[in-house]
């Protein structure tokens, strides 16, 4: 689905969401009557220092003035891979965006990510993976890293990686693989009105509690993470 189609289906009563150079910003009225802040990344734009600071600024402004949930739409490249972005401390800008989103979620502004296109690596960590609930739309194609870079780092050939990607969900790109890990909570139906599915999600919003590892275990994608984290937590609590 295109961004315009998604916005029309999500907000049939209208919205003022704009896409300026790949950064999405605006607000819309929900069925419940509450307003939602809408931010995001469009057109497979890379998330660099300039994009990240605009996004975090929009959320901080909304924390002062607004209420209601925060929706972040994602069709991005990975983080912008450039000398300038690293020189200026891209890790801080991406962390800052994630921190602002996490802070908002903990403090009464539930965050929902909607992954409708591509995303990867640091861009995904700072946007969709920093929300309470990440929703996927059919056709979304997230990846942790592009295969040429992966080949360079792992010293494996691209052909080997493509072959293994077919059989190994823990490593292979794609929405269904991320869902099996517990990263994507639900994949919506793009043939039905998104407004209905959003209303259902908001009516049954998970509690502020990171259950993604438990979800990954239930779905068979990550069998160890939840148990290891829980064992360490219990051992650490015994030191009190």
């Amino acid at each position: 689905m295109t961004l315009d189609n998604i916005l029309a289906s999500l907000f049939p009563d209208g919205h003022d969401v704009r896409n300026v150079n790949g950064v999405i910003f605006g607000s819309a009225m929900l069925r419940s009557g509450a307003r939602t802040l809408v931010i995001g990344v469009a057109d497979r734009t890379a998330v660099g220092v300039d994009e990240a600071i605009r996004l975090s600024g929009h959320v901080l402004d909304s924390l002062d003035q607004g209420s209601g949930p925060i929706l972040i739409l994602v069709d991005s490249d990975s983080q912008r891979m450039s000398k300038r972005d690293e020189l200026l401390g891209l890790n801080e800008f991406l962390s800052h965006l994630a921190k602002v989103l996490i802070y908002a979620d903990i403090n009464g502004r539930p965050t929902i990510g909607l992954l409708y296109g591509h995303s990867a690596a640091g861009a995904l960590l700072a946007t969709g993976l920093a929300t309470r609930v990440l929703v996927g739309l059919p056709g979304a194609d997230p990846a942790v890293m592009d295969l040429p870079s992966m080949a360079k780092v792992t010293k494996l050939s691209i052909e080997t990686l493509q072959e293994k990607a077919k059989s190994t969900p823990v490593f292979a790109p794609g929405l269904s693989n991320l869902a099996r890990m517990g990263a994507v909570h639900v994949v919506w139906n793009n043939a039905a009105p998104l407004a209905d599915q959003m209303e259902a999600l908001l009516a049954d919003m998970p509690a502020v509690h990171d259950r993604r590892d438990a979800l990954g275990k239930e779905r068979g994608g990550r069998l160890k993470a939840a148990d290891i984290a829980e064992r360490v937590r219990e051992l650490a609590l015994q030191t009190r």
Binding site: V49, I53, L60, Q79, M81, S82, K83, R84, D85, E86, L87, L88, G89, L90, N91, E92, F93, L94, S95, H96, K99, V100, I102, I106, N107, A121, L124, L125, L129, A130, V144, S149, M150, V153, T154, K164, T168, V170, F171, N177, L178, M181, G182, A183, D210, R212, G216, R222, L223, A225, D227, I228, A229, E230, R231, V232, R233, E234, A236, T239
Partner: protein
Amino acid sequence: MTALLRHVAPAERISSTSFSEASARTRVELLLDPGSFVEFIGPEKREISPHLRIFDLPEQFDDGIVVGHGRLDGSPVFIAAQEGRFMGGAFGEVHGAKLTGLLRAARQIRSTPVLVLFDTGGVRLQEANAGELAIAEIMRALMEARTAGVKVIGLIGGRSGCYGGGGLIAGCCSALAVSEPGRIAVSGPEVIETNRGVEEFDSRDRALVWRTMGGKHRRLLGAADVFTDDTMQDFREAALDLLGLVGTFGLDKLKAEQMRLGDRLRRFGACEDAVDIWTADGIAHAETVPELSADQFIALANRIGRTSRDAR
């Protein structure tokens, strides 16, 4: 070698051992008060990665991270240390889950700070989805812990640096101490070169790598609060200093960080090289910064460098 070292007095060992060259276990042992460390899910439990065998890669019984509890100058701390010599210290499913569990406990206890000794290339690509998500869970658990009042101090000085998602986790910490070998970035030099070409970034130009991503630049920018020499003694003192300095986390910190980073973009956004940034920051003969000794650099940084502990 080990037998010999046991005869060396602890005080001498801690001041003569290089952080960057030590293993994760040695770092933990020497950073904390002698004999105080207790590990959670140590190597004897053999909780290995379930994914590496798919790639015919060797496993490690602790999956490349040591987590546990100990004392620092008499006070209780939680500690996590990545082993940069195993898979480049990368975050896999088990590796990441140990740190997540530690941070979740710290959030409940509230009063016990957490030290994170980073040494990582980022996500372990052989288990990329699990590693990426582990980093997201660590960031969430870290910010929930900070929101509950926990101080989380990052120490960066390992040979693998602090790259990829590790750089994002570092950005979530209450404060960072970094040494010259400690590089902090998201995209590594080879990744930038692969994607954008050697004209954008020559990964074999080590001087370029160090001045763009290295500890000195990060200290001058304010990305790290303390620059330290590469000994275990220096890192221990840095950790104690930072534990005494950082305050509580809240919305004011995030607003201050927005201002801090925005100001950085306005001042330095058009600079093409770290030397241009240092020059714009008022450092005379900025091109000599990489050659300064740790003591000389610390004096310079204390005079000119920014701090960020009230804005992160």
